[in-house]
Amino acid sequence: MANKVLVETTLNGETVEFLCEPRQSLLEVLRDVLGFTGAKEGCLTGDCGACSVIMDGRVACACLVLGPEVQGKKIETVEGMAKDGENLHPLQQKFLEHAALQCGICTPGFLVAAKALLDRNPKPTEHEVRFALAGNLCRCTGYDKIVHAVMDAAAVMQGR
């Protein structure tokens, strides 16, 4: 009875096709239909950023995007950030070195939002980092080490 629609999109560089009901959000599609459980459900109201993904180059909350909306779009998730099986993205590496995660549930969302920031603004100030990440909640770290990790990753990516 469910009126499923067929959607074709690009996910982490690969063409992907899926069936979904219009009421299934992109977050549900990623997690329950495609098996990409990196993006997390924290609030379903766009207030915590745990479900952050990059859509056509801009970070968005997957919980507020309907599955059919991603037709023809480019989606990037945390699963696509590492260079390959051996090399992490500098942000991922710096998060580990700086102990910028404790329970880790918010980490995929932060990594994606931070990547979106550095893709646009390679040399952010501390304030710019905090402003860009204000939509991502963390309850464990107090954000200190997260901000340090992002700024250190920015430096590495700039070759500084």
Binding site: G38, C43, L96, Q102, C103, G135, L137, R139, G142
Partner: protein
């Protein structure tokens, strides 16, 4: 026992945590990530009323909806008697537990679970829940402690009588218990005071705010065995609670702790596991239940709001001469607030002769409260640490100096009675005084008023039971298996402790967090106990492994065991040619030497070391809007021995952030119908990274004499001082003593205007 002068090779370093790569690539499996063939999705129906009698429940329309495979109500639970059952370190009332999981004859708070369904999709489950018809008779409700304590208050649980009351009474009451700690003579004490300050405080209910909602996946098998995957702070306690409330042997349930997305005490009680289990039993399929954010806020275990009165006197020399405290904490719908802990922690940093602390555990129509990081202590510190600030100010004594004058040390008696062993409170006061922060001039912020405040805090920390095994692999590396869910990096610390004992590098030890069938009994992750107690078990298990290794080497060398020593990962013979072998070499030879080596230990260590903290904060207040910005924050703490300093710093910084939210914006907002209005992260306002500066941490290591490595728990005490420190800073900025939490902008603006 403490190795104060020991030079550690691994302990104190900052290796990358072993589970880190999984967490930064999105591969780590949290409870909601788990998928099984044929998985059904569950949803819970919840009461819209704060207090009501359930007259009838009709699930027929829900059960008939295509896609729905099972529906349950409290009728599906066994009938249990009221009573107190010890479950590890917790004491539980099975009847109340059952009533909280699915309401019996009454609903006691907005969000109280009433029924649950399992269906083929979460959307169908949601639709099914809407089809369940419940007839309620709405009753008057009560949501603040003082009203609930009055004679004419609506009664939540008719069988409750006040335990600990001085006179027995058969009257119905909402006061579930009362407790008193007292010594000395208050009259004498207050007469000796040159200054007396008396203040009343109200603190609002707040939530732990973990980003991951509760979840459980259960698979019940026809042979009566079940497996539950859950986001829990304690697989064993979850298992035992399930068994108790479902009337089945705990051993028939295997609980697999999924990676946990934050707990802070809120994921020790169970809410979904028994429901998922029953739904799986009825449907014959695995069932996943995940709470929404709204359900988490409405219906799990926030920490109490409270009403607190503090009266303290001090003499001109700055010595506190008397302290009297009266505290009423919200228990929520069932007894069990941490008011006792509040009584025992308030004033614990100080040496007091004359004190009387009264605490009351009071039922109100709100969710049953659960532990939140140093449960009970933050509310209490808000009262005591601000009154102390006022005493110091009125006597013209620097607030840190005042604390030094009165500070507890080895031999001081706690408010609850026992004397401290070696502690580091005075060291934290000293460190705060000498910090770059405290020595720096107050910054100027255009258009705002700036102030600096300090406060201290105490937490007991816990011991409790832990088990560990340390297995030597054939390549000379080791596996460490424990049963402590890792909420803050503890599995890395366990690996580091084992590595230290075995002379290995941290990367050469692989830590595993095991399920209830794969490791010995381990009490929950909480109470700042894991590095202390599970670390203790790991230490002993590693020592056990070392003893076995020495015996294997002795066998190979045909020597006596006493002739063999183990040092820095090398086993050597003290006699006959002084042969030696690295652990790697010996590991390869174990089959010839007597077999595999597996160390094990189960502990319930007594030598718990309490923790103290002293914090300094600068705030900027906009006097027109009442908005308070945190400019700078420094947290000092006696951390015993920091096994992995980055994660100790992380505990301090995270707790400070929670304390800032508690101080400035977090509160439960109920309307006149008793409904929670801000059941989401939009209006339940936790700090974002734009609301905080970098948080400076000063780690002081006063080793705990009760632990071989000197470890003290570190995770809880740093949430205790922030609200009081911020209140004291606001006072110095705008001259107003705030006595309510949160100190949100409307309240601060009003106080500033009224002062004018």
């Amino acid at each position: 026992m403490a190795t104060q002068e020991a030079k550690f090779k691994v302990i104190g370093t900052r290796p990358i945590r072993h589970d880190g790569v999984d967490k930064v690539t999105g591969r780590a499996r949290y409870g909601a990530d788990i998928n099984l063939p044929g998985l059904l999705h569950g949803k819970v129906l919840r009461s819209p009323h704060a207090h009501a009698r359930i007259k009838s429940i009709d699930v027929s329309a829900a059960a008939a909806l295509p896609g729905v495979k099972a529906v349950i109500t409290s009728a599906d639970f066994p009938k249990l008697k009221s009573g107190v059952v010890p479950l590890g370190e917790l004491a539980m009332n099975p009847l109340y537990m059952s009533m909280n999981l699915l309401a019996h004859d009454k609903v006691l708070y907005d969000g109280h679970a009433v029924a649950a369904v399992a269906a083929t999709s979460p959307h169908i489950a949601e639709e099914a829940v809407k089809l369940i018809k419940v007839e309620y008779e709405v009753l008057p409700h009560v949501q603040d402690v003082r009203s609930a304590m009055k004679e004419d208050a609506p009664i939540l649980l008719p069988d409750v009588r006040t335990s600990g009351a001085p006179e027995k009474s058969d009257k119905q009451t909402n006061i579930a218990s009362q407790v008193r700690f007292a010594r000395g003579d208050l009259d004498v004490g207050f007469k000796a005071a040159d200054i007396v300050v008396e203040r009343e405080f109200n603190t609002a209910m707040v939530h732990q705010g973990y980003i991951e909602p509760h979840n459980a996946v259960a698979q019940y098998n026809a042979d009566g065995q079940a497996t539950i995957w859950t986001s829990t702070q304690g697989a064993f306690t979850a298992r035992d609670q399930c068994g108790l409330v479902l009337g089945i042997p705990a051993s028939s349930i295997k609980v697999v702790p999924a990676e946990i997305g934050g707990g802070f005490g809120g994921k020790i009680p169970i809410y979904l596991e028994p429901l998922a289990l029953l739904l799986s039993k009825k449907s014959g399929k695995p069932v996943k239940l995940v709470m929404s954010r709204g359900e988490v806020l409405r219906a799990t275990g926030p920490t109490p709001g409270s009403h607190i009165r503090v009266k303290m006197g001090a003499n001109k020399a700055g010595k506190i001469t008397a302290a009297q405290v009266w505290m009423a904490y919200e228990a929520g719908a069932f007894p069990g607030s941490p008011v006792g802990a509040g009584c025992m922690t308030i004033l614990a940093p100080y040496d007091l002769e004359n004190l009387q602390i009264d605490g009351f555990d009071v039922l109100v129509n709100k969710p049953k409260t659960a532990a939140y990081r140093a449960p009970g202590a933050t509310n209490a510190a808000m009262g005591a640490e601000t009154v102390i600030d006022e005493l110091a100010e009125k006597l013209g004594i620097d607030p840190l100096e005042f604390r030094r004058i009165n500070g507890a040390k080895e031999g001081t008696a706690q408010p609850a009675g026992p004397k401290y062993l070696r502690i580091g409170y005075l060291e934290t006061v000293e460190a705060a005084k000498n910090s770059a922060h405290y020595k720096s001039p107050l910054p100027k912020v255009s258009g705002k008023l700036v102030g600096r405040g300090v406060a201290s805090g105490f937490w007991f920390n816990a011991g409790f039971q832990s088990s560990a095994t340390v297995n030597i692999n054939t390549d000379g590396t080791a596996n460490v298996v424990t049963g402590s869910p890792d909420i803050g990096g503890s599995r890395a610390s366990c690996a580091m402790i084992a590595a230290e004992v075995l002379g290995l590098k941290a990367e050469e030890v692989h830590p595993v967090v095991a399920d209830t069938e794969s490791i010995g009994h381990t009490d929950m992750t909480g109470g700042s106990r894991v590095t202390f107690a599970t670390g203790y078990a790991v230490y002993e298990a590693a020592q056990d492994a070392v003893n076995q290794l020495k015996q294997r080497a002795a066998t190979l060398w045909k020597a006596k065991p006493e002739e063999v020593v183990f040092q820095d990962g090398v086993v050597s013979r003290t006699t006959n040619g002084q042969e030696s072998m690295s652990l790697k070499e010996l590991a390869g030879k174990l089959p010839r030497a007597g077999g595999p080596v597996g160390g094990r230990a189960s502990v319930n260590p007594r030598g718990v070391g309490p923790a103290f903290a002293t914090h300094v904060v600068d705030v900027a207040v906009d006097p027109e809007t009442g908005k308070v910005d945190i400019l700078r924050y420094t947290a000092t703490q006696d951390v015993g021995k920091a096994v992995h300093p980055s994660y100790v710093e992380g505990q301090m910084q995270g707790a400070v952030a929670q304390g800032v939210g508690w101080a400035l914006n977090e509160e439960y907002f109920y309307d006149e119908k008793g409904t929670l209005r801000n059941a989401g992260f939009l209006d339940y306002r936790v700090p974002t990274c734009l609301d905080l500066p970098m948080i400076e941490t000063i780690l002081i290591e006063v080793p705990n004499p009760g632990h071989p490595i000197g470890i003290r728990g570190v995770g809880e005490v740093p949430i205790v001082p922030p609200p009081a420190a911020i209140a004291n800073a606001i006072y110095r900025a705008v001259g107003v003593r705030m006595t309510e939490l949160p100190m949100s902008p409307p309240k601060v603006a009003k106080a500033v205007l009224e002062k004018k």
